[in-house]
Amino acid sequence: MSAGTYVALLDGGKREESLRVERIAPGLYEVTLRGVTHRVDAFRQDHGTVSLLVGTESYSVQLDERGNGVRVHLRDSVFPVEILDERRARMRRPPGKLTAEGRVALTARVPGRVVGILRPPGEAVREDEGVLVIESMGMENEVKSPKDGKVAEIGVEVGQSVECGALLAIVD
């Protein structure tokens, strides 16, 4: 009834797989991956959960969409995948290597309260050393520097509440 070809990016774009999806009837698909065609019966059950029957095998899959990507939860595994349609896949630039170079912003990965500043501005810091301490849910978490360098700026004070994503410090 309809069909499409998709490229799935894995491991942050380091690997890719091609899939052809053909819709046979409502909820029924034929999906070709690595040369094998699977008969798939897909049923969306509740908030983000899909029941998949691939042949007779039953899988309960949770699809957690985040931006362009989707995190696929399946039994004890989580697969971060990005799905592109053919056109977008062709236009895609090869993925660049992500490194911690130049000025790096340290942001709060969790909402909480700043309870300590371990490296004041101007101090040298080594990769993986803590710069600040955030308390969340009664536990302290160090915010670490991703590189060797110098603390250029601290954007918060001890005692201050911070939201997730808040700028905490800059390492040069």
Partner: protein, 507 residues
């Protein structure tokens, strides 16, 4: 049972799952209840399950749940005649206990003097030594300043444990391997302790390598009866936080249980204890045990004992507070095996970062032998201010292997969407050969850290890709409008297209 103090309305001075746990037993006993809540907890389950609820301050615990005067004002306003402190927060604060009694309220717990004797962990240690019970070497009392603490640590010999004098539950607890790390850990321990207990006193203990952490549940009434209810094995800990508990302990046999029980009962007697308490012991590889501390309150893991003995510990706490008696030691009969896990809002894949936020979908499984104690619901926003525990699940079965398999089954059915949890980590713990064998100690989570954080199963990758591709195709298909004309299920974007599939929410 003569009821000398009629308890008719209990204020539960706590939040989350333990407040829910206590409220449930109160309701079953026909006792009216009062909840307290902070700004962050207006929507919490314990508020809706209580008969009455009173706002006690801002989100941070030290501006609400840790303020005795706010709790007492709430009791006064609602006419509560008793206070249940739960665990954490004010539950081991003798001053709060005393203030409750001064206000004419029944405090559901021991006398403040017992709390002081045990709460200052070091005086408790001295008493135990006096009674001939071996204790772990450590400082004689809380240490006033950092310089003295470093000196004491050198005397005891590294590695040492820094522990909150007022503490418990892993809060304010740090392991220090060498003098250079001491100042930083000292400050961190004091801050955590102050935040968790409103008390920043710290003491030191020798760190024992690879001991087991086993605790004994004791119960005493004001008529001089003290009994024990067997042990709980609590050696699966990460960052000194218990994750998995079980009873019986795989290393405790009947003679050892009797010996531990005897010591625990003596410890309780030594401080004139009344109510529910827990004597924590360290057990070494030769099954020698050392007194560690006594917690003068209910423990998180009390349901493990409830499942094995059939006794509702909260009900017994209330009955004892009314002046009732504990059952005789030989009336306490144990059956089968119970395993508990703590489901935390944290992300093991991101270094166990806390993961507060909105729960968008929730399904906690049931079935035979399973107990769910949770303080959450679909739609609840887990606050960042408090302990990250979402839910306590306990599996009971006639044997240990069956209880483990039951819990593994249950965890595979848990659905929590919207926030990250440690559910996969818990499954990895339970399924680990060292855990299954029973031969594990408090070093378990560290020793097997890598194995417990499993990479995705490559055999499942094709299925994950198929699921993602089908979802993408469905979305494209919907955008193309093909469904728009024949969708007949209002509000559904997964509309069906034929009579026989009319009830399908097809993907």
């Amino acid at each position: 049972m003569p009821e000398r103090r009629p308890i008719q309305k209990i204020l539960v001075a706590n939040r989350g799952e333990i407040a829910v746990r206590i409220l449930r037993t109160c309701r079953e006993m026909g006792i009216r209840t009062v909840a307290v809540f902070s700004d962050a907890d207006r929507g919490a389950l314990h508020v809706r399950l209580a008969d009455e609820a009173v706002h006690v301050g801002a989100g941070p615990a030290r501006e609400s749940y840790l303020l005795p005067e706010r709790i007492l004002a709430a009791a006064d306003r609602t006419g509560a005649d008793a206070i249940h402190p739960g665990y954490g927060f004010l539950s081991e604060r003798a001053d709060f206990n005393r203030a409750c009694r001064a206000a004419g309220l029944t405090y559901i717990g021991p006398l403040p003097e017992s709390q002081e004797a045990m709460g200052v962990k070091t005086s408790a240690r001295r008493r135990m030594q006096g009674a001939g019970v071996p204790v772990v070497p450590g400082s004689d009392g809380p240490i006033a300043d950092e310089a003295a603490a470093v000196a004491e640590a050198e005397r005891i010999g590294f590695p040492v444990m820094l522990k909150a004098a007022a503490g418990g539950g892993g809060k304010g607890m740090k392991r220090c391997d060498r003098a250079a790390d001491f100042p930083k850990l000292w400050q961190a321990a004091r801050r955590e302790s102050a935040s968790a207990f409103g008390d920043d006193r710290i003491y030191l203990e020798k760190f024992l390598d690879g001991p087991r952490h086993v605790e004994v549940q004791v119960f005493a009434d004001e008529h001089g009866n003290v009994v024990h209810m067997g042990e709980r094995e609590c050696s699966v800990q990460r960052r000194h936080q218990k994750i998995v508990e079980e009873s019986p302990s795989p290393v405790v046999d009947e003679p050892l249980r009797a010996a531990m029980g005897k010591v625990a009962v003596e410890a309780a007697r030594a401080v004139g204890y009344v109510g529910a308490g827990t004597v924590e012991l360290l057990v070494d590889a030769s099954r020698n045990f050392f007194f560690l501390e006594m917690n003068t309150r209910l423990q998180v893991e009390h349901p493990v004992t409830e499942m094995v003995t059939g006794i509702d510990l909260v009900r017994l706490q209330i009955e004892v507070a009314r002046g009732g008696r504990v059952p005789a030691q030989d009336e306490i009969v144990r059956r089968g095996h119970a395993v508990e896990v703590r489901l935390y809002a944290e992300d093991p894949a991101r270094g166990f970062l806390p993961s507060p936020g909105k729960i968008t979908y929730l399904r906690i499984p049931g079935g035979p032998g399973l107990r769910d104690d949770s303080g959450i619901y679909a739609g609840w926003v887990v606050p960042s201010h408090y302990d990250p525990m979402l839910c306590r699940l306990v599996a009971w079965a006639p044997t240990r292997p069956q209880a483990i398999d039951r819990m593994l089954r249950a965890l595979a059915e848990v659905h929590v969407h919207g926030i990250a949890t440690n559910v996969h980590y818990l499954r990895a713990v339970l399924d680990h050969p060292a855990f299954r064998s029973g031969a594990y100690d408090t070093g378990f989570c560290t020793a097997f850290a890598k194995e417990l954080l499993k990479p995705p199963d490559p055999a499942l990758e094709p299925i994950a890709l198929i699921a993602a591709a089908v979802a993408a195709h469905r979305r494209d298909h919907e955008r193309a409008g093909e469904f728009a004309t024949r969708a007949h299920a209002p509000g559904s974007t997964w509309a069906s297209a034929g009579r026989t599939r009319a009830m399908r929410g097809e993907a």
